[in-house]
Symmetry: C2
Subunit: 434 residues, 2 copies
């Protein structure tokens, strides 16, 4: 076991100006990465640790799951994003726990411990099955690139098997796709699967008509896109139904097996089931020994620090905080990014002896896409639907991707898909390579 | 168990013109795909079966393994390539064996049997370890997209682990990359790994200098790129050595473990080992009950048919055939493609009562690339090196990719990599998603 830093190729730029505060950031998602960038030129030594080598642009992950984009188009190596910042080092390792007393981050597999003066926890959330973890193998969620490739494989393989399935009942199950949960991810998945069946694959098979595929979107609550204004969520519903998606409200899923979903009294035979219904914060919050909410999020102070630990900040999907009107901040990228910058500013303030300030959120709006020419957007009161919303959605997402290369590649592929109705990443991979 | 075809969405275009000969093609690689296309408009019913849903452009697979391209850039769904040909159906299934007596292809997992009047076997080859299959987990070869992603993961993870490895000996092993076999794949892999270490990663790490990485290319024979003229192979050697690759000839590898390669008396500690030394034809050839060569290839007639079975053709990497001067045809894409077209023509000739003709090969040349601005090309006697060869290599490979979309995406990414010295697909994926 060793302590970082243990060796240094070249001295840090400001090494002579005395000992510098050590900041450790756990997680290279939207929050952690923004925090690391906010420390550029600050007299601190930053270590960002993530179990992945890449930052993932999660809002477009469903496009990898539905064969429109490649993993590399929406992911960027974290150390390459931060290469120009000489006061940042990046470590690829899992984090086991936080040793609050020793002020150390304990890494997995005896890689070592990271000492910190200040800690920013930004390890995000994973999907949760409300106490039914046994559903996970049958109904994968969508959080990582591996999840997305798994779902892509399931969708494409279902059509392939249906093509040579002689039993009509089994063929129908192979061509039934159930998405559980009608938040943005569920709506986007359901719309994209319907488009694959109706357009992209329509001419490719000889024995099945892919347009017979059934896409069912299940929502236990009363409406889809609950975070959006009523008019927009009704609009999204109409657009989904025009694509042929069967949207059902008000009944919770009670059982999931590899080949069926039970909702209320009804058993729906389905070969492909996608889970988009709930998340659980990273278990790292538990090792802080402070209060958590039901979803495992840390109940933080308004300044984003942890009660009793002014040196620890928790941000993004790991944090539970309410705004001035008592509404919880949603688990979206813009909250995480703004909190990342805010936590970094508060830490610099604390180092310089200034007072830390309570987090203030600047809500830039909300968007979700249903399919070609169809999206809903609520941008600071301006409510858009249809083609205009879809175009706004596309532009905002391309501009927010990291890296010029990815922006060009995604824009080109969208243009191509739009003109040809095709999807460029229709690969079934990950099967046994024999 | 059922027999194909068992159901049909719409009648085939020429269904009224009497019973049509059934052609089954096993394999959607260069040979099989070209054969299927050659049957366009022919009065035959073609079934192409492959265990993969995609045709893979293998000559660029090393670029996926070295993080320059994404899998989807060099792969295309087979049924999408053939969607316009109404007399072709595509089945995604593995082939278990050929029942020569019943004239049936036996599919894996009880999917069924495919009756044929004519059969084209084009199932290719896999890497072979010369009786040392135990080396496979330590030294993966490069045949599938999964192989490529596995090698990419190993290369990138080695640098990540070296960054926080305190033991100097272990760090040196992590930064040692051994490629076994100096044919085109081995040369291209060694050159690309050296470029990653020297250029792409050079500024990304804080504790290691990636330019210290050691790339060793081992070749048991006396020279690299054995199929090329001497002058070109010497030129390639010089270019590789300029990139810092340590090329060693004349000693066979005698042992491979997860962390070392033994060559002659020397044990080379290395964390990443890539196998590019030998291939073995698909085991399907065995079920024909005819003579095979040492690499498992079927010894075929000059017209590409199997001795005693004029209804069975074997092409590409599965076939063993010598040209008029007694030299075996090499296992490259252009041989497979020309044989695919030739076998299709001979089958049509046989159906129409014409005489089948012996295969004639039109050698269009040979190319291999070492790195930026560096390649060798032997095009019908015209011998190119350096930048000109590299440009010719790039143009030829882009033009031969299937699909306008892939051509544009690959060209753009190469341009981007060329200008920035970066690699756009530096993802470590496939790790446990916890």
């Amino acid at each position: 076991m060793m302590r970082f830093p243990f060796r240094r190729k070249r001295p840090p730029a400001l090494a002579d100006s005395g000992p510098r505060a050590r900041v450790v950031i756990v997680g290279g998602g939207f929050g952690g990465l923004r925090a690391a960038k906010a420390f550029a030129d600050a007299p601190v030594q930053v270590t960002l640790v993530d179990r992945r080598n890449h930052h993932l642009f999660q809002p477009l992950l469903y496009q990898v799951a539905t064969a429109a984009l490649s993993p590399a188009d929406i992911a960027q190596p974290i150390r390459s994003v931060l290469r120009g910042q000489s006061n940042v080092e990046v470590i690829l390792a899992g984090v086991n726990s936080i040793d609050v007393a020793a002020k150390e981050v304990v890494l997995d597999e005896d890689v070592g411990r990271l000492r910190y003066d200040y800690l920013i926890l930004a390890a995000g959330a994973n999907h949760a099955y409300f106490g039914h973890d046994e559903w996970a193998p049958s109904a994968p969620g969508l959080k990582t690139l591996e999840d997305a490739l798994d779902i892509r494989r399931r969708i494409l393989t279902s059509f392939e098997e249906a093509e040579h399935e002689p039993d009509p009942a089994r063929r129908k199950a192979l061509m039934t796709f159930v998405v559980v949960g009608a938040g943005p991810t569920g709506v986007e998945m359901a719309g994209a699967i319907a488009e694959i069946a109706r357009f992209s694959l329509a001419r490719d098979f000889r024995h099945i008509d892919t347009r017979d595929a059934k896409v069912i979107l299940l929502e236990a609550g009363p409406q889809l896109l609950g975070a959006f204004p009523d008019r927009l969520s009704r609009h999204a519903l109409r657009d989904l139904e025009r694509l042929g998606v069967d949207v059902r409200f008000g009944k919770p899923v009670t059982a999931i097996t590899p080949d069926a979903v039970t909702v209320g009294d009804e058993i729906i035979p389905a070969n492909t089931i996608v889970w988009a219904a709930g998340v659980q914060a990273s278990p790292l919050g538990r090792s802080l020994g402070v209060d958590l909410d039901r979803a495992g999020r840390v109940l933080i102070n308004p300044d984003l620090s942890v009660p009793g630990h002014p040196e620890i900040y928790v941000i993004g999907d790991m944090a539970s905080l309410k705004d001035a009107r008592g509404r919880p901040f949603p688990g979206v990228a813009q909250v995480a990014m703004q909190q990342g910058a805010w936590a970094a500013a508060n830490i610099q303030g604390a180092i310089e002896g200034r007072r830390v300030r309570p987090f203030r959120y600047r809500d830039l709006g909300n968007m979700a896409t249903i399919g070609r020419n169809s999206a809903v957007a609520d941008i600071r009161g301006l409510r858009l639907t249809g083609f205009v919303a879809w175009l706004a959605w596309a532009v905002v997402h391309i501009l927010n991707l990291i890296g010029f290369r990815n922006r060009v590649l995604v824009a080109l592929q969208w243009l191509w898909d739009y003109l040809t109705f095709q999807r460029g990443a229709r690969l079934i991979t990950g099967v046994a390579a024999d």
